[in-house]
């Protein structure tokens, strides 16, 4: 496999060909924030938090394949502000009440808000009226917190490949639903995986909450992205 070299903010990054800008950055210890992208899932580029600039054009680092010689801008102030504005939009279009959310401290949206030092969003809060839905014997869906990243849709499947979570409706009315028959058969293991795959506190496993004490949660000690900057495996 041929090797390519790109620059990210002027820093040379080598990688086997065929990888996305996000993957090249990660393997070279450069942090590009993401929300909808997750481990081995096929990227969909829906949240745009990973937006970078190449030759004056904006692109999602998680879907754009890196090409030899690319000069990628990642931390230009205007780019960072654009990312911050995307995060702020996610906050205002849902009801994100961190103080009582059990994902607090483990929430990627909250962690990014801390990283980007968001104090008050520049957009008005929408305060949508949404309910908590008991969708399965083992799960609750907290629609107030859903950011439509589709990580659950893409990753939680039955053994024969059928999707349990599905997007319903369109535009601002879109929400995540479940196939009730498949959801009824969710194992404890899959319910836990569904909760973990959700970057926010939208998928809640029934009967357990706040099990990890403050101080031992994922982002209590180090900000999101520290693992990449230190070159640690994700």
């Amino acid at each position: 496999m041929s090797e390519i070299t790109i620059t990210i903010d002027g820093r040379a990054c080598k990688s086997p060909a065929g990888r996305t800008i996000f993957e090249v950055a990660r393997t070279n210890g450069v942090y590009i924030p993401t929300l909808c992208n997750y481990k081995d899932l096929r990227p969909v580029g829906s949240c745009r938090v990973c937006t970078v600039r190449v030759a004056g054009r904006y692109m999602a680092a998680c879907t754009q394949v890196a090409i030899d010689g690319m000069a990628v801008e990642n931390t230009a102030p205007d780019l960072e502000d654009m990312r911050r504005s995307i995060l702020e939009m996610l906050f205002v279009e849902g009801n994100h009440l961190c103080p009582s959310c059990e994902k607090s401290g483990n929430c990627e949206l909250q962690a990014l808000a801390y990283r980007y030092q968001i104090m008050v969003p520049r957009f008005p809060f929408q305060f949508p009226v949404r309910r908590v839905e008991a969708v399965a014997p083992k799960l609750l869906l907290e629609h107030n917190r859903c950011i439509q990243c589709l990580r659950c849709v893409r990753s939680i499947q039955t053994e024969d490949g059928r999707r349990i979570f599905v997007p319903q409706n369109r535009s601002r009315w879109r929400k995540i639903g479940v196939d009730p028959r498949l959801a009824a058969e969710l194992t404890d293991e899959m319910a836990l995986k569904a909760m973990e795959v959700c970057p926010v506190g939208s998928i809640l496993r029934k009967g357990v909450g706040f099990a990890v004490p403050i101080g031992r949660r994922k982002f209590d000690k180090t900000p999101i992205g520290t693992d990449v900057a230190e070159g640690l495996p994700r």
């Binding site: 009582s100 908590v132 609750l140 706040f210 099990a211 403050i214």
Partner: protein, 482 residues
């Protein structure tokens, strides 16, 4: 000419309240009311939330004693998950006790030193510009430092048990999410002076001495101010001992006769009713068997030392004996003696913290249990300000369908109104001019109950007090707003 006095906001209390006093043509008090002017609606918006969120969400009622709400909700949810009273693991129950007594220590220290002591140490008629905690710092730096450090120690205990000093997550339905590490324990037991438990016990004892000294010099004021007979209610341990975390309901009348005894609080609705009056957002609880007009009662330190038979820690028990002998063993109905009782509880809390820190169960690793599910649960604790009731119903989908909260200050609603009325009649009635000092006396009476108005109405807002003087035609003649 008839007048109406309005005191708004009431200062040095938690939350937002006002007092109105109506005077007739001769300047005689016709009516006085302590109004709560906030509304928040926690009982409504918690509906639909997952039950395990309750201890974390409901504690947001308050920033002063959130641990009480955290634990009362957790106790109610223990019942829901089938691990009701007495069924928690030893580690979980003792960790919760440590958290709770840490909170009692910090809250009582805050109230006595920061909020109440300016009235005693600087005088009720002192210039309001200095009659505050800053004035205390100027008067006695050493005392003010102790106050801050006593509170800090309590807050550090809360941090070690709940994960945060304010609004932690330690208690979960069926147990706790952490134990106490040996390092944390040793820091509290043997920390560098002055931040160790022995120093706290010594300072709590000294605070009682301080109050006793003031009492000796101002006997008539302390004994007579806003004194009135009442019923008293609190949790007591099964054997009658003082217990802030768990027990059975007991109520006594002004003479010490038992009205309620050995009542399992899961059945509180059979014994306690709540009356709504049009002029306040705060309800008026009463003992059902005595009816609305006679069934009101006091809660808090004064009530607790009236209902319990003894205090299960040596130094506080000694102080309790002296305290009880002052009223010949009868219930104490003197509002300002609440401060005395509160300081004895401060000492007791410090002693219990030490006892718990020495208990190896705190390093246990069995933290959570589950049992057969129940559709509803009631959780009670003795919060710093008095008995706190939490009652939740949960559906088969783990969602809360009903919440009823009777907070300590709500229980004290009628007593606070009586205390205000006492001051109005005894200091304001038929006086040609109303001075700031007179109005402060109204607040002193309210402050004795250490009300948390935010909790009581489950309300949000500033911390103000407004007193106005209105004539018989409703015209405001004099108004003091702070």
């Amino acid at each position: 000419m008839a007048r109406k006095i309005t005191i708004e906001p009431v200062t040095r209390v938690e939350g937002h309240g006002k007092v109105t006093i109506h005077l007739d043509d001769a300047g005689k008090v016709q009516q006085s009311r302590f109004h709560i002017v906030e509304f928040r609606g926690f009982e409504r918006f918690i509906q639909g939330r997952p039950y395990w969120e309750a201890p974390v969400l409901v504690q947001r009622l308050c920033g002063i004693c959130p641990v009480s709400h955290h634990l009362a909700a957790a106790k109610a949810m223990d019942v829901v998950v089938g691990v009701g009273p007495g069924k928690l693991t030893a580690t979980a129950e003792k960790m919760r006790r440590l958290m709770h007594y840490g909170q009692m220590l910090q809250s009582h220290a805050l109230h006595f030193f920061h909020l109440a002591s300016p009235d005693f140490l600087l005088g009720m008629d002192a210039d309001p510009a200095v009659r505050n905690v800053i004035g205390i710092i100027a008067l006695d730096k050493e005392l003010a430092t102790r106050a801050v450090l006593l509170r800090k120690f309590g807050q550090e205990i809360i941090l070690a048990t709940a994960g945060k000093k304010i609004h932690g997550t330690g208690a979960v339905p069926g147990g706790m999410n952490k134990n106490l590490s040996p390092e944390e324990r040793d820091r509290f037991l043997k920390g560098a002076a002055p931040l160790n438990i022995d120093q706290m016990i010594a300072w709590a004892g000294a605070a009682i001495e301080l109050f006793r000294g003031y009492h000796a010099k101002n006997k008539d004021l302390v004994d007579g101010f806003a004194a009135f007979p009442s019923n008293h209610l609190s949790l007591v341990r099964k054997d009658g001992a003082l217990d802030f975390y768990h027990g059975v309901l007991r109520a006594v009348d002004a003479e010490g006769r038992k009205i309620l005894n050995d009542v399992d609080y899961q059945d509180y609705l059979e014994y306690i009713g709540e009356e709504v009056r049009s002029w306040s957002y705060m309800k008026f609880p009463y003992i059902k068997s005595l009816g609305k007009s006679a069934g009101w009662y006091r809660v808090g330190p004064l009530a607790r030392l009236n209902t319990c038979d003894h205090i299960p820690s040596p130094l506080a028990q000694k102080e309790f004996e002296a305290y009880k002998s002052y009223t010949d063993g009868k219930p104490n109905n003197m509002s300002l003696h609440t401060h005395w009782a509160r300081l004895i509880e401060l000492l007791h809390s410090a002693e219990v913290i030490k006892e718990l820190l020495l208990d190896k169960d705190l390093q246990g690793t069995k933290l959570v249990k589950t049992g057969p599910r129940a559709p509803e649960g009631v959780g009670l604790v003795e919060a710093p300000r008095g008995t706190l009731f939490h009652h939740f119903r949960v559906n088969g989908d783990d969602q809360i369908t009903m919440a009823n909260l009777i907070v300590s200050t709500t229980n004290n609603n009628e007593p606070m109104n009586r205390a205000v009325h006492w001051v109005a009649v005894n200091t304001l009635s038929e006086k040609p001019e109303i001075t700031e000092g007179m109005l402060n006396r109204v607040e002193v009476a309210i402050r004795a109950y250490d009300p948390c108005l935010s909790c009581a109405t489950h309300a949000v807002g500033r911390m103000p007090l407004d007193v106005s003087l209105v004539d018989a035609r409703g015209r405001v003649l004099q108004r003091e707003v702070r």
